[in-house]
């Protein structure tokens, strides 16, 4: 009997592993629903022009799973943009014909394995000439090999600098969010101005957190800033009080949290509950309303580097991005009843860049790659893009600003 039970338990270990694998199955295409368009980005003057076949754009976002707070608004944004363009008849291709945009969107469920599967499906079955997304650094890194081999341009909506560097190894990969380097430099600048030299570090245990940590270790010494801890937590962990306790026991003057909601919100709440009196600094990963909704009052006082979208209304009229940002905010809010997120903004830029390249080159991957590298002074949501053969991100310091949360609202940091 004893022996029998023992043999019965051994497979349960396999089953426990299996359940994790099974969770990865699925992944249905998300069909776009028709919506009312407000304005058009297409420069086509409609009616009399000859109509060509639709241009396909493949999209992979982390729509469900732990990174859904990134992927869901990204999907909503590109669907909105697609409908706006198609309501005007489409875009004018290099052949002088009017082409509608046909988005093929897949959900990778925030998983690397699923990301590769849907990337292959986009390339082999849907035969798209360009792919935008995915949302996270990890899910993007997973498909770089696939898109590189297929020689299909990929415009990622994820942050890590290693997505586009070294450029020589990844000529087909582009990305729209500010690099960790740019974000980290701004944060460290700000910390230095506040006289902070020692920080407690805590980050999420994935590519986003690791990339943030790597940038910190590279850049912080030049600012005379050191970390007292190097704590990690899982993206779906229920409680991070343990890690924060360790930070509390050090002589840190501030805490840096490098994560996205809901994990970032749980840490923020835990820190408040623990009575951690240190100022909390976070990453651009918390640039959505979810973070504030979930963290509640604990979110107040959190300061983070991000794009100008969150504080668009307080920008000076001379800012070239002001109009674009306010239009996006207005249209998104009208359509979906909530504020847009910086992640949606990243997808906005990826989509807009893909459209610009399609207008110039048509549905030819090589042509799109060349066209992308030639885009200059494109005013997007995240920043002003100047892409080139050596810079596949193309953002500069104008793309980052420091934002503080006060009374549950974003305000420019002082």
């Amino acid at each position: 009997m004893e022996c029998m039970r023992a043999t019965l338990r051994a497979p349960t270990v396999l089953i426990a592993v299996g359940i994790l694998v099974l969770g990865a199955c699925g992944g249905q295409p998300v069909t776009a629903s028709p919506t009312v368009a407000a304005t058009a980005t297409a420069k086509a003057t409609a009616t009399a022009m000859p109509v060509g076949e639709a241009y396909k754009i493949g999209a992979i976002f982390d729509i469900t799973g732990p990174a859904s707070s990134l992927g869901a608004p990204e999907r909503d944004t590109v669907k909105m943009l697609q409908d706006q363009i198609n309501a005007k008849g489409g875009i004018t291709g290099p052949d002088g014909k009017l082409h509608k945009i046909e988005l093929v969107i897949y959900d990778n469920q925030s998983q690397e394995s699923q990301s590769v599967l849907v990337a292959k499906r986009l390339i082999e079955e849907d035969k798209v000439p360009v792919i935008i997304g995915p949302s996270q650094s990890g899910t993007t890194m997973a498909i770089i090999d696939t898109t590189q081999k297929a020689q299909i341009p990929l415009i990622s909506a994820a942050a890590s600098i290693s997505i586009v560097t070294p450029v020589a190894d990844r000529p087909w990969v582009f990305k729209t969010p500010q690099s960790d380097t740019l974000i980290m430099t701004n944060l460290l600048d700000y910390l230095k101005s506040k006289g902070v030299t020692k920080v407690g570090w805590i980050s999420v245990n994935n590519a986003f957190g690791d990339s943030g940590r790597a940038q910190f270790e590279k850049l912080a010494p030049t600012y005379g800033i050191t970390a007292t801890t190097n704590e990690r937590f899982g993206a779906t962990d229920p409680d991070m009080t343990g890690q924060l306790t360790k930070i509390k026991g050090t002589d840190a003057q501030a805490v840096i949290v490098w994560a996205i909601p809901p994990g970032a919100s749980v840490v923020t709440k835990n820190a408040a509950d623990l009575g951690l009196k240190l100022p909390v600094y976070q990453s651009h990963g918390i640039g959505n309303q979810d973070f504030i909704t979930l963290a509640g009052a604990a979110a107040n006082g959190v300061t983070f580097p991000t794009s100008k979208l969150l504080v668009a209304a307080s920008l000076p009229a001379s800012d070239p991005q002001r109009t674009v940002l306010l239009d996006y905010t207005d249209q998104y809010q009208k359509l979906y009843g909530k504020l847009p997120t910086t992640f949606g903004g990243n997808a906005y830029d990826a989509f807009a860049l893909a459209v610009k390249a399609l207008e110039k080159a048509g549905p030819d991957p090589k042509g799109i790659q060349t066209a992308l590298m030639g885009i200059k002074e494109f005013v997007g949501i995240t920043g002003v893009f100047n892409l080139s053969a050596t810079d596949h991100n193309g953002l500069d310091n104008r793309a980052v600003t420091m934002v503080t949360i006060a009374d549950g609202k974003w305000v420019p940091a002082k």
Binding site: M1, E2, R5, A6, L8, R9, A10, P11, T12, V13, I15, A16, G18, I19, L20, L22, G23, C25, G26, I63, T64, G65, P66, S68, S69, A72, N205, E231, R232, F233, G234, T236, P238, D239, T241, G242, Q243, T245, K246, K248, G249, P261, P262, S265, V266, D273, L274, G275, D290, T293, L294, G296
Partner: protein
């Protein structure tokens, strides 16, 4: 330093209590039916999700909690009747376990379709500043978690020892054939064990929701951790399973200051070591069913 130690202990016990409620669900079903129900974590998700949605719609908390627990209990009954009952006798125990994995994936998918992927916040039961204890900080919600686990344990003990249904469940766990001879239907008891497990899991979800928010996929990891706790203490031994779950919580918390990156790996390493060294669990005197 004592304050830090106390804080790690408090965090560990809080985590362990949640795992314990999940582990108890595993033990109840396993004892009565011999099946390991990998959909156990989904009961936690259902409890958290239903309670959060109801509370955010303005339902008073006690009513929302009750409805959530009842809803998950009903889900337990449905899962048993629809997915498992037709398979009894025709499928091996391993086959039944695989069915529960399928159920788990299906429930998660349905939850995603019904409620979307956004995490939902739920206010703490009794808002207010945390309480200090031996230099450690204990949030009020953590106290609710501890109290709920303790009360649930006591109630389950009374239920199994004194009520007719509880005794019938135990009889079924000890010796299904003999139980049948005295007129207890093992199938009906299997249904009862699923209802009970659903309710216990949902209770855990309700008290956990204000701490972690309710998400459609929160059940997966919690289910696995509860399973590890149950195996650690003995799958057929309820007090052992609770002890195992608490030990797991404390181990994870103790691993945090050493390397917070590897605490999940530690949990599963413990599972493998225990399964090889003591397949009956640390406290599992009796191997096999019949604990309760």
């Amino acid at each position: 330093m004592t304050g830090e130690l106390a804080q790690y202990a408090v965090t560990g016990v809080m985590l362990g209590s949640i795992y314990a409620l999940v582990a108890l669900g595993f033990v109840t079903i396993y004892s009565v039916t011999g099946v390991i129900n990998f959909a156990q974590g989904e009961f936690v998700m259902l409890g958290a999700m239903l309670a959060t949605i109801l509370v955010n719609d303005g339902t008073p908390l006690p009513l929302a909690a009750l409805a959530a627990v009842a809803g998950a209990a009903l889900a337990g009954a449905l899962i048993h009747e629809i997915a498992l009952r037709p398979a009894w006798r025709r499928v091996s125990v391993i086959g039944m376990i695989m069915i529960t994995i399928g159920v788990s994936v299906a429930v998660r998918g349905l939850a995603l379709l019904a409620w979307g992927s956004d995490p939902r916040p739920m206010p703490a039961f009794t808002p207010g500043p945390p309480i200090e204890l031996l230099g450690a900080v204990v949030t009020r919600q953590a106290l609710w978690v501890l109290a709920t686990t303790a009360v649930a344990l006591a109630a389950l003990y009374v239920f199994f020892q004194t009520t007719a249904l509880g005794r019938a469940l135990r009889a079924c766990a000890v010796n299904p054939t003999a139980a049948r001879l005295v007129g207890i239907s093992p199938r009906r008891m299997a249904l009862a064990s699923f209802v009970l497990s659903g309710a216990i899991g949902a209770l855990g979800g309700v008290v956990l929701a204000p701490i972690t928010f309710a998400t459609y996929d929160m059940g997966l990891m919690l289910g696995l951790k509860g399973f590890v706790g149950a195996v650690l203490g003995g799958l057929a031994n309820p007090p052992g399973a609770v002890a195992g779950a608490l030990i797991l919580g404390l181990l994870e918390s103790a691993a945090t200051p050493i390397s917070s990156a590897y605490k999940d790996a530690l949990a599963f390493l413990v599972l493998i070591v225990v399964m090889i060294a003591r397949p009956g669990g640390l406290f599992g005197g009796s191997i096999g069913r019949g604990g309760l």
